[in-house]
């Protein structure tokens, strides 16, 4: 059985290799190869899962050691896999959702002549992501970590002829690199302190070292997580990442890759458990991000960006939960899975909408689409209900648990975190309702030509680039696209319930993450009720604003907060002024220094030599008598010095 693990990674990797090296002759079948291999990987996953269920809770962990990778003295890195319940969960999510999205892409990318390469990249991503969750040591995880970064870079920038896309891709990679610094430093710390960076030994060693050191490592890991999971302060790339094709946004920037940070933290549970300070920081980051994302989500008119904001804030929930320690790990993962379903569903829905609307992304140009694309409407609606936590649907269970856990943290921080989480829930309800209303209800704003909206500099709807405006004919998407949406919709409806009834999920994960219930200051019931209340409030406000009144086709100027939120709360502006500008000045001045100072010194010496030479030359004036003088003087000096030498 263990030997299958490698195949999990190998299948999509093979796909990537074949598709990317295969050349044009594979264009016709490329997408099928990609999809099939993804499916293969999923099947293997299921097989392994079945096998795992067959065993007792404790001996479910499997491992496969391929070969020694970098052996240098005490530094021993192996290519080795570890498949436990946590990894298993991810494998299923990744391969499952992944396969669906492959299918979806067949339709979505139909008209793109570079579809083969697109599937190659998708497979590459799957391989890297699986490597990430299957690695049994941090260095190998790092490989997957950067691998998914590369895949995301390639896919965000898939439409490279669009400068915005290329820039977004570069930005994503760079911001992630900052996070990677954290990861590599963390690994170095582990090696320096524990002499190893394989999960098992490291987590054992945590017992024997000081809290301070663990805190350091924890914070470095958190930095990495922030980069990958778009948490404040490294969140700025996610919004721009929406430049990528929608399936990419669904798979990478909603369901799987962006949750890697959560995985990393949960995987390093023991380190964090032993480092409360680190945990606190984690929770704070989570809390801040969930608000940040939510607020941004409220202001965006670009449907994908709105959803991106929501992703940010949902991951904020997970990070928050992960930061709570054993109380929260399970729920973090659970929310991660459910979120995987409904957020992917939502994105696919958004993609389907765009597909029917000539790639229009501005929700202010949507409206009343429910009659034109019913399936999309239903699936999207279910996803919507799920994400806002409508009772009975997935989101309800997972998110609710997190809020409870937040309170259960206890003490003032417990209260603060809890209420933040609640507030987040309210805002989620608000912006999701807003999206829903603007897209599927209200008047059909897309019937008349748009006028470029000055208030939305960040978003650039494709309509404007396409010159004169032809009225779109909204239509339902092909089967290849709708089926995955339906499947995901099922997931978003039932997954949560399925997991929670009898705490299945908890028992499944407990052996890996451990769990305790903490001491909730308020009963679960009250939390649920509170959640319901804020949910209704949020949705209500949204309804009042966007359901009752007509939505202006042009974004109103809006309040200061709104405008800030539209610009991702000015994060980019900050980056631009401080990092980009500063960097440019720095490099420019350094170029000058290099040329004028470092080089100048040398050239200067050479020049001065020349000058000296020129001056000494003058002594050679051609007059025999002056030569004689120098000889005479020379002789005199010679004699004088000789005598002096004797004198002294």
């Amino acid at each position: 059985m263990e030997n299958l693990i490698a195949l999990l990674v190998a299948a999509p990797l093979l796909g990537a290799a074949v598709l990317l090296c295969g050349g044009r002759r594979l264009d016709a079948v490329g997408h099928w190869i990609g999809t099939v291999l993804a499916a293969v990987s999923f099947v293997i996953g299921v097989v392994l899962f079945a096998d795992m269920l067959g065993k007792g809770a404790e001996e479910r962990e499997m491992a496969q050691h391929l070969f020694s990778w970098v052996p240098v003295e005490s530094f021993q890195a192996d290519i080795a896999f570890q498949l436990d319940q946590l990894s298993m969960t991810f494998v299923l999510l990744i391969t499952g959702v992944g396969s669906l999205i492959h299918v979806y892409s067949i339709g979505y990318m139909e008209h793109d002549e570079r579809r083969r390469r697109f599937f190659g990249y998708l497979n590459l991503f799957l391989a890297a992501m699986l490597l990430l969750v299957l690695a049994d040591n941090y260095l190998l995880l790092y490989v997957g970590w950067e691998g998914v970064g590369l895949a995301s870079y390639l896919l965000i920038g898939f439409w490279q002829h669009k400068p915005s896309a290329a820039t977004a891709a570069k930005k994503a990679f760079l911001v992630n690199r900052v996070g990677d610094m954290g990861l590599s430093i963390a690994i170095m710390l582990m090696f320096a302190w524990f002499g190893t960076f394989a999960f098992g030994p490291v987590l054992e060693a945590t017992g024997e070292t000081s809290e301070g050191k663990l805190t350091a490592i924890g914070l470095m890991l958190l930095l990495a997580a922030c980069g990958k999971s778009a948490q404040v302060p490294l969140q700025s790339w996610l919004g721009d990442a929406m430049e990528g094709p929608t399936p990419v946004s669904a798979l990478i920037h909603a369901a799987t890759m962006v949750t890697a940070g959560v995985y990393l933290i949960v995987r390093s549970a023991d380190i964090f458990n032993a480092a409360p300070d680190a945990q606190l920081v984690v929770t704070v980051v989570g809390a801040v991000t969930l608000l940040f994302g939510a607020i941004v989500g409220c202001a965006k008119d670009d449907i994908k960006k709105a959803l991106a904001g929501s992703t940010m804030s949902q991951i904020g929930y997970m990070i928050l939960a992960a930061g709570l320690g054993p109380i929260g790990y399970v729920f973090a993962i659970m929310h991660l899975v459910t979120h995987g379903f409904f957020k992917a569903g939502l994105f696919l829905g958004a993609g389907s909408v765009m597909h029917g609307m000539n790639d229009e992304v501005d929700m202010r140009r949507y409206g009343g689409l429910r009659k034109y694309m019913p399936i999309t409407f239903v699936t999207f609606g279910l996803g919507y209900l799920a994400i806002i936590g409508f009772p009975g649907l997935s989101g309800f269970f997972s998110k609710d648990k997190i809020i409870e856990a937040a309170f259960a943290k206890g003490g003032t921080e417990g209260w603060i975190l809890g209420s933040v989480a609640l507030l987040g829930a309210a805002i989620t309800a608000y912006y999701m309702t807003r999206v829903m209303l603007m897209t599927f209800f209200g008047e059909e704003r897309w019937r008349h030509a748009p006028t470029p909206s000055p208030a939305e500099p960040s978003a650039e709807p494709a309509a404007e680039t396409r010159g004169e405006y032809e009225v779109p004919h909204p239509h339902e998407s092909p089967k290849s696209m709708t089926i995955p949406m339906i499947v995901l919709a099922f997931g978003s409806v039932f997954a949560g319930g399925f997991f929670s009834i009898g705490d299945r999920f908890m028992h499944w994960l407990e052996p890996v993450t451990g769990h305790d219930h903490g001491h909730a200051p308020v009963s679960a019931m009250t939390v649920t009720l509170a959640t319901m209340v804020v949910l209704v409030i949020g949705a209500g406000i949204a309804y009042v604003q966007y359901g009752r009144r007509p939505v202006p086709a042009l974004a109103p100027r809006g309040s200061l907060l709104t405008r800030a939120a539209r610009r991702d709360l000015l994060q980019d502006d900050f980056n631009h002024v401080v990092l980009v500008r500063g960097g440019e000045h720095l490099t420019r001045s350094l170029v000058y220094v290099d040329h004028s100072l470092v080089d100048g010194v040398v050239n200067g010496t050479a020049a001065s030599m020349g000058g000296l030479s020129g001056r000494l030359r003058k002594l050679q004036n051609g007059y025999a008598r002056s030569y004689a003088v120098s000889m005479f003087g020379g002789a005199a000096v010679l004699i004088a010095v000789t005598l002096l030498m004797r004198a002294v």
């Binding site: 030599m609 000494l616 004689a628 000889m631 002789a635 010679l638 004699i639 010095v641 000789t642």
Partner: protein, 549 residues
Amino acid sequence: MSAVAVHSLWTMAADPIEKIDAPKIEYGQLSPTLIVIGAAIIGVLVEAFVPRKSRYYAQVFLSVVALAAAFAAVIGLAAGGYGTTKAKIAAMGAIAVDGPALFLQGTILLAGLLAVFTFAERRLDPVAHGNRVDSFAAQAASVPGSDSEKAAVKAGFTTTEAYPLLLFAVGGMLIFPSANDLLTLFIALEVFSLPLYLLCAVARRKRIMSQEAAVKYFLLGAFASAFTLFGIALLYGYAGSVSYATIAQVVDGSIENVNPALADTMGNDALLLIGAAMVVMGLLFKVGAVPFHMWTPDVYQGAPTPVTGFMAAATKVAAFGALLRLLYVVLPGLRWDWRPVMWAVAIVTMLGGAIVAITQTDIKRLLAYSSIAHAGFILAGVIATTADGVSSVLFYLAAYSFVTIGAFAVVTLVRDAGGEATHLSKWAGLGRRSPLVAAVFAVFLLAFAGIPLTSGFAGKFAVFKAAAEGGAGALVVVGVISSAIAAFFYIRVIVLMFFSEPKPEGPTVAVPSPLTMTAIGVGVAVTLVLGVAPQYFLELAGQAGVFVR
């Protein structure tokens, strides 16, 4: 001076003498010198009696044979162990026959031989009135541009006197490093200087410059030799003898010879120190060390290029030989007095030569300054005052002289309407026009620059090593720095030859006769051999490193 003393003088002379024992001359051991001088005299006779047409051939033949024979003699002596075990003082103490002497004589003779080849080259200049012409004036006495000169050219005159002059010079140079008393030293100095003065004056092209060079060289040379002579006088006054051995003994006090009259007035050593300084100065003039170097560029530029090559190579060898003998045999006891001075001289010579060379625009002047810098390097070896120092200098001299002759021989090939095109700008793109010549010259330049795998590197390493071992580490550092500076202008020439586009009206490269080719070929060969496998020659120099006292 008292009457008694006078009387004693008279009586001394008046005493009846039974027999006068004739001086004992070891002709065998002096044979190299005697052969060359003899050939020179025959050369004069040739000038007098052989018809003009055949003089050239007679002279060339004579010189080549003489030099070759002399060289053979040197080899014979060396093989006979006169360089090592049987080293001795010959000719009543006038001449030393020992390792350094033989080694340097061999070098000088080979250099002279190659020089004869370059002298005899007659293919470079266009044929004038049906006569092949070499690089010497048709008739040195006739005024440049005058009718008499034209007539001379028309009549196909050539200055075949050049060859006897060369032989005389070589003869003097052979004696110079082996001279074992100050008188011989002085005579040898004059014997090889005077012919050189004349040779400088007899260029075929650019005669005015040639004459100017001769005048400068002559006046300054005479000036210098006057110093030398005065130094000799003082040394004689100090030691009461001109024989090296005696002076050395007096210096290190094994012979007590203090004249009270001098001692109480000026301190006896003043004579010694001043005298030594002046003699050394004369020799430094010949090797072209700063500040006695200023004649070098002008003379090198003005003299006919073959002569320049010969001077640059042989004069340095001879002069350094003499300097070594003087410092190692006569003045070792004085080491602590002359070492600091020589340090200073070596440093300024290395740096001065290298720095001034940077801005030169005439290839011959450039090489002149480079020769000055090299004199500095060799001085570093001289200062080592160890057996290693001697042998390293010997090796360096050998290596250097071949590179020099070769380099100047190449200079004679690059010509335009006005004769040799020595201005650097004219060398632009030479590498494109005739890659071979340019490559050969590049090899010589790299050897000058001391790039590994050339003789220049081996030599430089040898002297620096000796200097460092002799406790002159600072000199090595200075030497290294000045080598770096020097590298700059050698490279400049290479850049010019290979990387700059050739000018349309640039010079042509004349195809020389086998004579010059031999000279250049030997130069290249020696340069590379001494660079890649110097061991044998180093051993040779090592064995030859001991002076006989």
